[in-house]
């Protein structure tokens, strides 16, 4: 019986003390971690939409899935482009890309690979500027395509990385998938219209979002 009490006390006391300590640490660490994530997101939006000085989060629920786009706002508060995240499987794991869309809805403004675990030296070259820069000003009708071992000859083509076709293909596929969804759910008229008048959608600028979080 004495053993039992001792075991019971041991586990209870150590468990509760650890729990309290962790809760306390979390209280301090969590806002910092959130702020880091937000800053990272903001930086990646500003990379694909270089003229943007602020951004607005627009959310929609499609088939119970949340679709989020970020509308980049220029110095004068006018929209300069749309950014969205495209996630999907690569050669070894998830590839997450931030895509910038031109307001004319005909060309991409640029992409930035946020996360990838492709093979070092081969597939991971998708995150090098040499590959990413090919998407600047790229046309995407009817879709983005890639060619192998030669210079692209159409305005909607990029050149795949030699020895990393699967990774290049994954990037292109992710972009096409999400592009189709975004084009369907966030048509040009809606985005440009929302800039002049506030309609039913939940839209807010990043500063408003931060202010709301504090409440």
């Amino acid at each position: 019986m004495k053993d039992f009490t001792k075991m019971f006390l041991n586990l209870t006391v150590v468990g509760s003390v650890s729990g309290v300590l962790l809760a306390g640490a979390y209280h301090y660490a969590d806002p910092l971690i959130q702020a880091n994530r937000e800053r990272e997101l903001k930086e990646s939006i500003f990379v694909v939409l270089p003229e943007a000085k602020d951004y607005k989060i627009i959310e929609k629920t499609v088939d119970k899935q949340k679709l989020v786009v970020y509308e980049g706002l220029g110095v004068d508060g006018k929209p300069v482009g749309i950014a969205f995240k495209a996630d999907g499987g690569g050669f070894q794991g998830n590839i997450s890309i931030m895509v910038g869309l031109n307001l004319d809805y005909l060309r991409l403004k640029g992409i930035k690979v946020l996360e990838q675990v492709e093979t070092p030296g081969l597939g991971n070259r998708i995150s090098e500027p040499k590959f990413e820069d090919q998407f600047k000003g790229l046309e995407f009708t009817p879709r983005v395509e890639y060619v192998k071992n030669k210079k692209p000859d159409r305005p909607n083509q990029i050149q795949a990385i030699t020895g990393a076709t699967i990774s290049s293909d994954a990037v292109v596929k992710n972009i096409n998938n999400y592009l189709a969804k975004v084009l369907k759910e966030f048509p040009k008229e809606e985005i440009l219209g929302a800039a002049s008048k506030e309609d039913g959608h939940r839209t807010m600028t990043s500063t408003e979002a931060a202010a709301q979080k504090k409440h």
């Binding site: 053993d3 001792k6 075991m7 041991n10 586990l11 150590v14 468990g15 650890s18 300590l21 962790l22 640490a25 979390y26 301090y28 660490a29 910092l32 971690i33 880091n36 990272e40 093979t119 070092p120 030296g121 081969l122």
Partner: protein, 209 residues
Amino acid sequence: MAEDSANSLWYEFKKGLWQDIPPFRLVLGTCPTLAVTNSIKNGIAMGLATLFVLICSNVAISALRKYVAVQVRIALYVVIIALFVTLADMFLAAMFPPISKALGPYVPLIVVNCIILGRAEAFAQKNAVVPSLMDALGIGLGFTMSLASMGFVRELLGFGTLLNFRVLGDWFEPWIVMILPAGAFVVFGSFIALVNWISHRKAAGSSSM
């Protein structure tokens, strides 16, 4: 007596740096040793995170050693270790997000690093707080050194850089295999061989005298 205890404390510290250096001698903690040593920076960061957890857990377990019920000791140690690992993980994510990203799931996995549970079982539960602290310092620094030296070789050969500074010129074609898992095994094996070779020579040298 005071001299004696200072000597033995020094011994507890020193043994982790060579005689019992964790990955190369005890061949413990090999998972992070292989996984995150593709650059010096990642190796050092992982080593320091482990050092922190090791110091805290050794001190806590040694301080609690008289109150612990033997039947549940492993469960207790794991809770204590998990506490410090989670703290370290949160600290890295809050203060050094790029490092936290590079180390990925390997920081939470310190929980199952056998070095830490091993030191708790083999040392901290039988010894007072100060020797346990010295033991943790020695083993932790030895581990950090091992990871940093693995990172040194792999980063130099795999990227041609050291701490992200280019040290080998354009003539150097990086050996990509060195930053892949295969390279980790090759470097790890070579280090174990090197450490054994040096200590064999040392042993031979001292016995012939």
